[in-house]
Symmetry: C2
Subunit: 459 residues, 2 copies
Amino acid sequence: MFNKEIYIERREELKKSVKSGLLLLLGNGEASVNYADNAYAFRQDSSFIYYVGLDTPNLAYILDIENDKEYLLGDELTIDDIIWMGNLPSLKDRAAKVGIETVLPFSQLSKLITTPQKLHYLKPYRYRNILILSELLGEKPDAIATGFSVELTKAIIKMRLIKSPEELIELEDAGETGYAMHIVAMKMCQPGVSEREIAGMIEGLAISKGTRVSFPTILSMNGQTLHNHDHSGILEPGRLMLCDAGAENVNYYASDFTRTTAVGGEYSQKQKDIHNIVAKALNDSIALAKPRITYKSVHRNAYKVVFEGLRDLGLTKGDTEEALNAGAPALFMPHGLGHAMGLDVHDMENLGETLVGYDDEIQRDTLFGYKSLRFGKRLEPGHVLTVEPGIYFVPQLIDKWKAEKINTEFINFDKLKDYYDFGGIRLEDDILITENGCRLVYEKRLPVTTEEIEKAVKS
Amino acid sequence: MFNKEIYIERREELKKSVKSGLLLLLGNGEASVNYADNAYAFRQDSSFIYYVGLDTPNLAYILDIENDKEYLLGDELTIDDIIWMGNLPSLKDRAAKVGIETVLPFSQLSKLITTPQKLHYLKPYRYRNILILSELLGEKPDAIATGFSVELTKAIIKMRLIKSPEELIELEDAGETGYAMHIVAMKMCQPGVSEREIAGMIEGLAISKGTRVSFPTILSMNGQTLHNHDHSGILEPGRLMLCDAGAENVNYYASDFTRTTAVGGEYSQKQKDIHNIVAKALNDSIALAKPRITYKSVHRNAYKVVFEGLRDLGLTKGDTEEALNAGAPALFMPHGLGHAMGLDVHDMENLGETLVGYDDEIQRDTLFGYKSLRFGKRLEPGHVLTVEPGIYFVPQLIDKWKAEKINTEFINFDKLKDYYDFGGIRLEDDILITENGCRLVYEKRLPVTTEEIEKAVKS
């Protein structure tokens, strides 16, 4: 939790930005695993934390702009609670620490919103909050999902996208744990070790140092399967282990790194060749990223590096610009170069990815690959982004393009036969856009060349 | 997953037990952390796993008893899914592995339940499932919560309470990981180490070997705070670390152990005295537990051991039977002796704790302490239970009893002043009721005497 002035200032700025109406920020409740009282580790809503700073369940915040009043809604502990839970500070005291004077029982929420003023709420992503809003507003769940306030959403995105100095300290802390997780994973990357064991150990490290992993760890020999949360494999010599993992620190800030390690710590020449292209795409992207240029152009440049690198290996062919316009590199990198990161690893994805990553000037592309770029906007100092190029050989996708004769003028499908069992390589760092360029959020960089990674595995 | 015959037999038995109507088992969906696509590790519903065996999200099972038909409802992967998720077996193939022939799209669920037959469903505990049932049945969420089928619930409880040989193998596996977690915690129990670090490492171990912790780990110097999931303390010499933690294995079976370790591995005499009483309560309970006697009577006996042990130390006084009838030991042990355990650490708590733990013959008590016993029934071979006596010094509770003059004839309140900063001790093992008595589920017992625990800390 930061000083209360920070929360007061943030709410003041939000008030000025939205100007009128009643703002509702609904905190999260507990989420049950297998029965009501067995809950997943509590996670507060990120916008609630950003403006209200309190990380216990079942709270709501109301800002009545026209009457210049604000309320925290939540229930105080009973004497029985105190016997079971110990002496905890009262909600009133905790509210005071974030600069909120008025605390009301949660049940008062329905009265507060009975007003002719426009109610601004954010799009809910938890079923509990959909149910609460549905009951409060007397609307069906479907209507709740579409009735959120674009005005409030945009105002919050604008503020949260620019990271303040105190937020950077938190992001560096999450980065430090993420760094440690990847070093452990590299050292454990030996034949015969199970993916599950490594994933579990690094997840434990994230919990030890903070709250949890910032997203479900991807740790697999099958890096080409992009949505892969299976950890049932046993590491085999000659294979690659793609590990995409990060930590969420005690104040909910995220890190997100990817490294692809040769099992046992020896890359083959074929693996090195692909790894070097991905590393160049990563380094060139970091060198490019700076204020005023669009992230869309950095993504396009990464596609260029991938395309030309693979052309040197004989896997692609033809003119670079034509291939980029046709989206040919997307066969190898069907995802975007990166995303904003902050209190969420995909920052504010709950508020709408396109509202976060695009604007009136920079619109989302529709072409395969390009369309998956989550963030395309012009960069500004204070933006924090992931940079995560990759090259994958996805047999199903190669077969599809080949069968449908997609981009045949740019792809040497015959040569690709030798890569069906290659897997995939991704490398990912987290950057902060500065006044003149960018820097790594956590400045100590993970091993990134094949030589550095080989050394880390064996150290 | 077990052999398909096991699932077929279980469903057959359920069908015979409920006799008529339409049975609906609704599987779980994903639960979002901070945005829709960032989900907590998936956990299937336990009854769904027990009867259907499939552990992916967004499934439902319908058993039409009168027409002797069964259906699995869920959606097959699309070509796009396969590109991102790899070649996974089809739902139809997976259904066949658990003996279900007919697979329908999830959207067909609403049609299937449009029948004059009585629909039996279980009480939902996840908001998603409340929303689905609410929409399916056209009822308000409140009505959904109360409209569940007691008949289906009782039939399932009856079956799931008796653990089969293949379930015991899973429970032993969860026990093995739980054992390893506690050994790690004991070894880390040194001054200056943070509670968070230890809790994180043992949680990582649970994930490494299985799916997750079977419940949020309690690991605290403040063992007297019973509902304590705070891990912000740094271990201090002279204090006790109460660790209540267990694992959920890959097939969702649970373990649940508690040990209370002296920080640094040296108990004071005062700590030993209390620890010895709790250990006696644990051992005597295990010696008593056998078929036909009630767990309620084992709980009462544990209260007896606690009361008489504390009387020897001068903290309680008076006649044992009178004190037990008055509920005096509940000041020190305000919770029950244990609970059923299986696919849930509090087995089937979602189906209703009283339906699981009590019946027409054995009713829940209303007296403080006794009323918290989750399972009071007569024991039967195949029951798996936790045994977890404790002695805590809860200042708020002592003050309350003293102020309200509760049980003053049995408590030496003056002597208790020396124990306000003691904390609490709990010891917990998991037992299986056998034909003639009981045995530990995982037969290798954790260190349990102060000597054994001291040795484990230092080893």
